[in-house]
Symmetry: C2
Subunit: 329 residues, 2 copies
Amino acid sequence: MATIKEVAAKTGLSPTTVSRVINNHPYVDPKKRKLVMTAMEELGYVPNSSARRLRGQRTNTIAVIISRIVNPFFGHLVDAMEKIAAERGYQLILCDSRLEKDREMQHLELLKTKQVDGIILASLQNRWKDIEPYTRYGPIISCNEYDSAADMPMIVCDQEYGGYIGTKHLIDRGHEKIAYAGGTDRIELTRDRFSGFKRAMAEAGLTVNEDYLFPSFYGIEDGKNIFHRMYAMENRPTAIFAGGDEVAAGVIQEAKRFHCRVPDDLAVVGFDNQPLADLIDPGITTIDQPMKLMGTRAMEMMVDMIRHNRDVTYKKELLPLQLIVREST
Amino acid sequence: MATIKEVAAKTGLSPTTVSRVINNHPYVDPKKRKLVMTAMEELGYVPNSSARRLRGQRTNTIAVIISRIVNPFFGHLVDAMEKIAAERGYQLILCDSRLEKDREMQHLELLKTKQVDGIILASLQNRWKDIEPYTRYGPIISCNEYDSAADMPMIVCDQEYGGYIGTKHLIDRGHEKIAYAGGTDRIELTRDRFSGFKRAMAEAGLTVNEDYLFPSFYGIEDGKNIFHRMYAMENRPTAIFAGGDEVAAGVIQEAKRFHCRVPDDLAVVGFDNQPLADLIDPGITTIDQPMKLMGTRAMEMMVDMIRHNRDVTYKKELLPLQLIVREST
DNA sequence: AAAGATGCTGAAATCGATTTCAATATCAGG
DNA sequence: CCTGATATTGAAATCGATTTCAGCATCTTT
């Protein structure tokens, strides 16, 4: 309620001097500094941040665009980001695209309208050509998802490698009829993962059965459905590589319900290494993604870019993926 | 980059008229409206939101304070909130208190410094007397957690009842030596839940064994630890009521590892009814909390209070809890 | 034809800070 | 005693919008 003017009036000084006190500028008489401090205290004065934003052209706010906060993967990612942001004095605006292109574009407007200083894209529903125009309004970096056409800093994992090691592991276990439930096109991340799958298959001289490919799904229910679709086949696959631990968990749960033994009748590999992968029985063999590291690194980069006003540039950074073997294979 | 003045200059009109076009005011000549629109388009003009905030004294932003975003419970809560907020044209600032009092207080400052129009408290680390002073800066409501001393709108579940039905269920199954892992003091929510536990015990003429009480824990690892502490007792409890599904899951996993049969040797009740409660084997008997409803309702209230500038008031709203019986009991 | 209502427009004030610029005071060095 | 550096201060401009108020047409109504 109290403004800088009122503080000035109360102390008999000018707003300029009060501002100097607020911002710890040198050249303020120590006595007057103290005087201003107590006046601020008494009036319960706090600087209005809208005014500061307008004058300073900075918001100290960063937007994070994700696709589904209910996915624990993003929960961990956001958690790591929030931690760094808070340390550095930035707030986080949480933007959930809910996998919709339009919402994502709307969220990008935040940068244009100067509501945030930068944007971290952890969801990528749109093409680079649609995103590119926004880069002139402030830093945008991608984290987790990516688009090789894009000219922006990225913190990503080598998904092709992930797809490869997961598949290779199943092949090493003797499987030949391997299903894949992870999406095959649309998003580059899933496409690369699928490439890894195909590479491993080709290397082993195995052919990819079109009937064994399931479009991209995300939740437990999707996993259950996929199991049933496989179960209904006359020539069933003996293993499945799922695009996420939740899908894998759904497959496993339903398999158990129908007395299909895991891993003997059906081996399952997940992705992400979420806590639940270790919890259910059998534990899910999965690909560990360093979520914490990704989030931390992305936010560090972002803050650095904002602080140095783009004269720092980053390239693509590739983080390691790792196979975690449990009982489901 | 372009300002309203530049649009005005380009069209030969005044900033006032341009502003009218932007805000869809009546009394603008349709021709000039169109003229302004195309000029804005050509200049790539977008209103600067810091300026609007300053002048309008609104931010269209709401802060949500939670304790741990990695907890899927909060993930769902935030998801529901974000959905309503987006529909109504508000942004969400995610504040993670990480269970620390100080962080929570810092986040409350957002309201004072006019960075947000209102705050939803889904975490409550501080006492009402510390929070109360902030209410004069804007609406604050609590969601999930609560403090009966507090005079603010609340959306909460009847935790005493939750504690009661969970315990009653175990008693009905014939258990007498029942452990409780949910916190017994500190936060009112957990205290009430514990009261429900005690009421059910007393009603059945059972005494509460101090050794069977475990202080408040949150994660899977905590559940594992608790199992071991129980396992080491000479007079082991035959059932445990855990403060969350994750804790319950940890207990169950470790029990299985040590060949302690669930529910025969140890019955387990969780809390929250998270997806994982249905996923692990055996499924966890738990108390369903309507997270989606809580989040939705809280955000609806918040927006309503902001829009009507506090001349609407809400009271405490109690949402239903429900026992979900699965195989762990 | 006068009075009043309605439509359209812009100059200037305002929101609450920060920054630029100039003014003044004080002090050291030559 | 003069010059130049170093402290200390405030008036006024600025950030980019919205709002108030007043002015002037044009159109009804009596």
